[in-house]
C-alpha cells in the first residue's frame, strides 16, 4: 500500500472561533467608544464596512458568475438552495469555513499562511480611497490613484509567495506565470494611467469624478474634447485590468488543465476561501477604478436619479462584462498573452500617451489662435 503523504492537520473549523470572536469584538468596540477620537472611529467603522462589502461581493459575485455562465450555456445555474439559488453562497461559505485546514508537510510555514492575507488585505485597503459618492468615501487621499496601484503590486507578491511557500511544482510554475503576466500588463496600464493623469491633473479619485460631472458626454470615455483617443485608453485599461486580476482569458495562473488549481493548489478550506475573496475584491476594484477614471464614477447620465447607486450600477455592469468575456473566450497561451502585451498594448499605450501629450499641448494653442 502506498503510504499517504504526511500532513499536519489543523482541526479548527473557522466558524467556532468566529462565533466567539464576533460578540467579543462587538463588546470591545462598545467599551472603547468614548476612549478613542472620532476620526479613528470613522476609519475603524469604514474598514469593517469595507471588509463586509468585499466578503459579500465575493460571495454574491460567485453566484452571479455561475448564473451568467449557466445562461450563456443555456442552463439555469444554481436554483435549489433558496429562491433562484440565492442562498447558495451562504451554503458554500459555511462549507468552506467548517472544512479542515490542511498544512502539507514541507511547506514554508510562515509564507504559506501569510500569502492569502497578502492577497486579501491590499485589496481591502484599496477600497479605502474609492469614492462611492461625493461624501461616501472612507478616506479621501490626494494620491488615491497611486495608492491603489501600490497596493495592487502587493497582490502579485501574495500570489508569488503562496506558490513558492506551497513547495509544489504546479504552484511554483503558476506563480511564476502570474508574476510575468502581472509585470507585463502593469506597464501598459500605468502608461494609460499617466495619460489620464495628464488630462485630469490630479491623483485624487474624488476630484477625477467631480471633473466628469454634467451629462454623459462629460464622462472621460465620451469626452472627445479632452482627447479624441480616450476610448482607446479605456479599452487598454480595461484589458489590462482583466489581466491584472488574472481573469479569463488571461487566467494562466489557474490553468486547471495543466496546473491543477495554480498557486492555491495546496490550500484548503478558508485558506483557499481567502484567496478567492481577494480575487473577487480585486475584480471589484479594477471595475471600480475603470468606472471612476472613464465612466464618471457616481455621476448620473442626463441628471437621472443622482446618487451612489450609479457607481454600483457601473461597477456591476463592468463586472458583468468581465464575466461575459470569461465565458466567451478560451484561455490564451502564455506566448499569446505576453505578445498581446509587449507587441500590441504597450506600443498602443505609448502612442496614445504621445498623441495625448501633443493634443494637450497644441489643441489649446490652436483654439487660442482663432
Amino acid at each position: 500500500m502506498i503510504p499517504l503523504p504526511e500532513t499536519r492537520r489543523v482541526f479548527t473549523p473557522f466558524i467556532i472561533p468566529s462565533l466567539i470572536a464576533l460578540p467579543v469584538a462587538g463588546f470591545g468596540l462598545y467599551a472603547l467608544w468614548p476612549l478613542l477620537p472620532l476620526d479613528l472611529w470613522r476609519v475603524i467603522i469604514a474598514l469593517i464596512a469595507l471588509i463586509a462589502f468585499a466578503a459579500g461581493n465575493a460571495a454574491y459575485l460567485v453566484w452571479l458568475e455561475r448564473k451568467v455562465c449557466a445562461h450563456i450555456q443555456c442552463r439555469i445555474g444554481p436554483k435549489e438552495v433558496g429562491p433562484f439559488g440565492l442562498l447558495q453562497p451562504l451554503a458554500d461559505g459555511i462549507k468552506l469555513m467548517t472544512k479542515q485546514l490542511i498544512v502539507p508537510k514541507g511547506v514554508d510555514p510562515l509564507l504559506f499562511k501569510v500569502a492569502p492575507l497578502l492577497v486579501l488585505v491590499p485589496a481591502v485597503m484599496s477600497f479605502v480611497t474609492i469614492p462611492f459618492s461625493e461624501t461616501l468615501v472612507a478616506r479621501n487621499i490626494d494620491i488615491g490613484l497611486l495608492m491603489i496601484f501600490a497596493f495592487a503590486s502587493v497582490n502579485v507578491m501574495g500570489l508569488l509567495l503562496g506558490g513558492w511557500g506551497s513547495a509544489n511544482k504546479y504552484a511554483v510554475i503558476s506563480a511564476a506565470r502570474a508574476v510575468s503576466q502581472n509585470v507585463a500588463y502593469e506597464i501598459p496600464m500605468l502608461i494609460t494611467v499617466i495619460t489620464m493623469v495628464m488630462i485630469t491633473h490630479t491623483l485624487n479619485l474624488r476630484d477625477i469624478v467631480l471633473q466628469q460631472s454634467g451629462n454623459m458626454f462629460d464622462w472621460y470615455v465620451f469626452r472627445f474634447s479632452a482627447s479624441p483617443l480616450l476610448w482607446m485608453s479605456f479599452l487598454i485599461f480595461f484589458v489590462c485590468s482583466l489581466a491584472e486580476t488574472n481573469r479569463a482569458p488571461f487566467d494562466l495562473g489557474e490553468a486547471e488543465s495543466e496546473l491543477i488549481a495554480g498557486f492555491h493548489t495546496e490550500y484548503s478550506g478558508m485558506g483557499f476561501g481567502v484567496f478567492f475573496m481577494g480575487e473577487y475584491a480585486n475584480i471589484v476594484i479594477g471595475c471600480g477604478l475603470t468606472s471612476i477614471l472613464f465612466l464618471g464614477g457616481w455621476q448620473c447620465p442626463f441628471g437621472l436619479w443622482p446618487g451612489w447607486w450609479w457607481f454600483l450600477a457601473k461597477i456591476y455592469f463592468l463586472i458583468f462584462c468581465v464575466m461575459w468575456i470569461r465565458w466567451t473566450y478560451p484561455r490564451t497561451t502564455l506566448w499569446g498573452l505576453l505578445n498581446l502585451s509587449w507587441k500590441v498594448l504597450i506600443p498602443l499605450a505609448l502612442i496614445n500617451l504621445l498623441l495625448t501629450g501633443g493634443w494637450l499641448k497644441f489643441w489649446p494653442m490652436l483654439m487660442g489662435a482663432q
Binding site: 451568467v68 445562461h71 450563456i72 450555456q73 443555456c74 442552463r75 439555469i76 436554483k79 461575459w324 468575456i325 465565458w327 466567451t328 473566450y329 507587441k343 500590441v344
Partner: protein
C-alpha cells in the same frame, strides 16, 4: 507592418463577433431539463427491459404460453410457466420472470412473439442495491399496472 494591423483589426473584430454570439445564447431559453423534477418522454423506439402486454379489455396478459420467447432468447433470460384452465381456449400464464442482468436488449423475444404479448418498456430509471433487484416478475408488474 500591414499584416500587423490586419491581425489587430481582424482579431478585434472576431472577439466582438464572439461576444455577440454568447450574448445571443444568453438570451435564449434554457434547454436543460431539471431531471429529478422533470423527465423526458422516451421515443417510441426506445428499448427498456421487456414488459408483458395486457389485453385492452380484461387486463390479463395476451400471452398464450407458446414458449417461443423463452426458446429464442440467446441469453436464457426468460423463464415462464402456464396452465390450462377449464373452459379457456388457451393456456394462461402463471409465472413469467425476466433476468435483466443477462438481457442484451437484442429484441429477439419481442420479434418472435406472434401474439404481440411482449414489448419494450420505456423505463430508464433503473437502479438497485443488488443483482437480485433486476430479476423482474413481469406478471406481477402487469397486475400492478392494471
Amino acid at each position: 507592418m500591414s499584416g500587423y494591423f490586419k491581425d489587430l483589426f481582424g482579431g478585434t473584430k472576431s472577439l466582438a463577433v464572439g461576444l455577440g454570439i454568447t450574448f445571443r445564447y444568453m438570451c435564449k431559453p434554457v434547454v436543460t431539463l431539471q431531471y429529478p423534477h422533470e423527465s423526458l418522454k422516451m421515443t417510441p423506439r426506445y428499448r427498456g427491459h421487456i414488459e408483458l402486454v395486457g389485453d385492452e379489455e380484461t387486463g390479463l396478459p395476451k400471452c398464450v404460453v407458446c414458449g417461443m420467447c423463452q426458446k429464442t432468447c440467446p441469453s436464457n433470460c426468460i423463464t415462464l410457466a402456464g396452465e390450462k384452465t377449464e373452459g379457456a381456449k388457451t393456456k394462461s400464464l402463471t409465472m413469467y420472470t425476466l433476468d435483466f442482468t443477462k438481457c442484451s436488449l437484442c429484441g429477439q423475444c419481442v420479434e418472435s412473439c406472434k401474439f404481440g404479448a411482449i414489448d419494450f418498456s420505456k423505463d430508464y430509471n433503473l437502479a438497485g442495491p443488488r443483482k437480485e433487484a433486476f430479476i423482474f416478475d413481469l406478471l406481477k408488474r402487469l397486475e400492478e399496472k392494471s
